[in-house]
């Protein structure tokens, strides 16, 4: 396939050629009146000033007609070419994203299989006894859990992609669910030295699906740990206004490194630098978050370049009225 650079050079050269052609027409027809008058005079047909003026007027009309037609054609041509170039650029980007996705998914699925297999093989070959054997089998179990999570994520994404997610909507305490997720993930990520803090506001109730909300918060927290730098710190915060329930998940890592905060919710989009590639994941976590939040009728957005560093993801959902909360609690 033609590269983006080559396509751009081709487009720029064609555009320059068309502009040069137009300039040549302008010049050529601009001189037509004078040329005709000179030729007629040199052929022995002296012209009056009036006749010369008429010749110039006719040549000017022809010039304007050709230029108008040429310009229209030129605009159509350049527009068409620009559209082709844009399509090609998009296709190339998509191809690159899919390649990244394949590469990432291969890594994400094969790595836990590789370590689980080596742990079990070591035990089977009698290379681990007693405490070491137990440890190896426990690690193999963790690897299989990790593999299951990855497969679940992929299946969930496939499900969300194939149809609008079906949610079991009920009034729920956003802060309570956030607390459960933080407790669970704190244990899971403690091994990486991650510190996950919760600043939960009271009375932050939303109408949503418990499992989907859990997936959203879990993905955001795991993502924040992943990109939170060394000894990552993550802050989960809930609050509400008169009509809105808000959830913030913030990390204090190096941030998006200039990436467009809107694009991080697109599927298969991940940073290009080695640090991001090496973090694992296939670029579906935030896409899944966006799709689920949209299905809940909410909004999601990312804020980068914050004071103190890092990235913050904000989820906005409709606040449930106190009367409904009371009924739900009852």
């Amino acid at each position: 396939m033609i590269s983006r650079k080559k396509a751009f050079v081709l487009y720029a050269s064609s555009a320059a050629f068309v502009v040069a052609l137009l300039a040549w027409w302008a010049f050529f027809f601009g001189r037509q009146g004078t040329l005709l008058a000179n030729r007629m005079q040199s052929a022995g047909a002296p012209l009056t000033d009036e006749q010369i003026a008429t010749l110039h007027a006719v040549a000017g009309e022809t010039q304007r007609m050709f230029l108008a037609e040429g310009l229209t054609l030129c605009i159509l041509l350049l527009g068409g070419m620009w559209s082709i170039l844009r399509t090609m650029t998009r296709e190339l980007a998509l191809e690159r994203q899919q390649k990244n996705f394949l590469s990432a998914i291969t890594h994400e699925l094969r790595s836990p299989i590789a370590s689980a297999r080596l742990y079990v093989e070591s035990v089977l070959l009698g290379r681990a006894d007693g405490e070491k054997k137990d440890r190896y089998l426990q690690r193999a179990m963790l690897d299989l859990d990790r593999l299951r999570t990855r497969v679940d994520d992929l299946l969930e994404t496939a499900r969300v992609n194939s149809a609008k997610p079906t949610l079991d909507i009920e009034p729920l305490d956003l802060s309570g669910i956030a607390r459960d997720v933080v407790e669970r993930l704190s244990k899971e990520h403690a091994v990486r030295g991650a510190k996950i803090e919760l600043d939960a506001g009271s009375g932050v109730w939303v109408r949503t699906d418990a499992r989907a909300l859990d997936t959203v918060i879990s993905n955001l927290v795991s993502n924040a740990v992943k990109y939170g730098g060394k000894d990552p710190r993550v802050l989960v915060r809930t609050e509400h206004t008169r009509t809105k329930a808000l959830l913030y998940v913030r990390d204090y890592g190096p941030g998006l490194g200039g990436a467009d905060p809107k694009r991080i919710f697109e599927p298969f989009v991940r940073g290009d630098d080695a640090n991001v590639r090496a973090k694992g994941g296939v670029g579906l976590g935030l896409y899944l978050v966006r799709e689920l939040v949209m299905a809940m009728g909410g909004r999601v957005r990312a804020k980068d370049g914050l004071e103190g560093g890092g990235t913050e993801i904000e989820i906005e959902l409709a606040l449930v009225e106190p009367r409904v909360r009371a009924e739900a609690k009852a």
């Binding site: 890594h107 790595s111 590789a114 093989e121 070591s122 070491k132 080695a274």
Partner: protein, 231 residues
């Protein structure tokens, strides 16, 4: 048993642990790092006997680590271990100067075999050849220490593979050495290149060392088998 120093560069904690444990059981002294840049620094400071190098690493990816080392003429043996094991990746790893490539998931026994094979090959390449440091073929002489060939008043730089192929032939002068033998000695266990690859190296060696490469006097082809060197 061996005590040779190996460096495992792997950011997956579990994989790093189980690989290191098993290599230690074989008697190797193993060190683990989980970052490409850190690995590069460590290898520059103190090259181990072998590097087991993952490709997707934080800091700097494994391919780049290998490329930089080779550019700096650090010829530490490198075994790539990666989940990305399609043909393009394999070729890239080997072209950048990797010695072998193992796709995840792999068998423990296969890993051990490959590690032992690379170390054996690397040791052979480092020991002094049975015929000394110099091989004389008529007007041409090859210096196995500096990897150079002197032909008349011209000097040529030889690649590691060229030197090792020549050495495999010169260690048993007059004997037919099969292509499979050369592959095993120079590239190692379950070598990636085809036997045709050796033919290409032989063509270049003949161009450098033979007075008439079309009718060679020193490096003879034995049809269907391999090559014979007659100094």
């Amino acid at each position: 048993m061996t005590g040779e120093k190996l460096l495992v560069v792997e950011d997956e904690l579990h994989l790093a642990e189980v690989i290191a444990d098993n290599l230690e059981l074989e008697g190797y002294a193993v060190e683990v790092v989980g970052d490409g840049l850190e690995a590069l620094e460590k290898i520059r400071r103190e090259p181990p006997a072998l590097v087991l190098l993952d490709v997707m690493l934080p800091g700097m990816d494994g391919f780049e680590v290998c490329e930089r080392l080779r550019k700096e003429k650090v010829d530490v043996p490198i075994l790539f271990m990666t989940a990305r094991s399609d043909t393009d990746d394999r070729i890239r790893g080997l072209e950048l100067g990797g010695d072998d490539y193992l796709g995840k998931p792999f068998e423990l026994r296969e890993l051990m075999l490959r590690v032992a094979a690379i170390l054996k090959r690397s040791k052979w390449a480092k020991t002094k050849a049975s015929f000394g440091d110099t091989l004389v073929l008529g007007d041409a002489s090859v210096d196995f220490k500096s990897y150079t060939a002197q032909v008349g008043d011209k000097q040529y730089q030889l690649s590691t593979k060229e030197v090792l192929i020549l050495r495999a032939l010169a260690e048993r002068p007059g004997e037919v050495i099969s292509r499979a033998d050369i592959l095993d000695r120079v590239w190692g266990y379950e070598a990636f290149p085809t036997e045709r690859t050796i033919d290409n190296f032989i063509v270049r060696l003949r161009r450098l060392l033979e007075p008439d490469p079309q009718s060679p006097r020193y490096i003879h082809t034995v049809r269907g088998t391999g090559y014979r060197l007659t100094p």
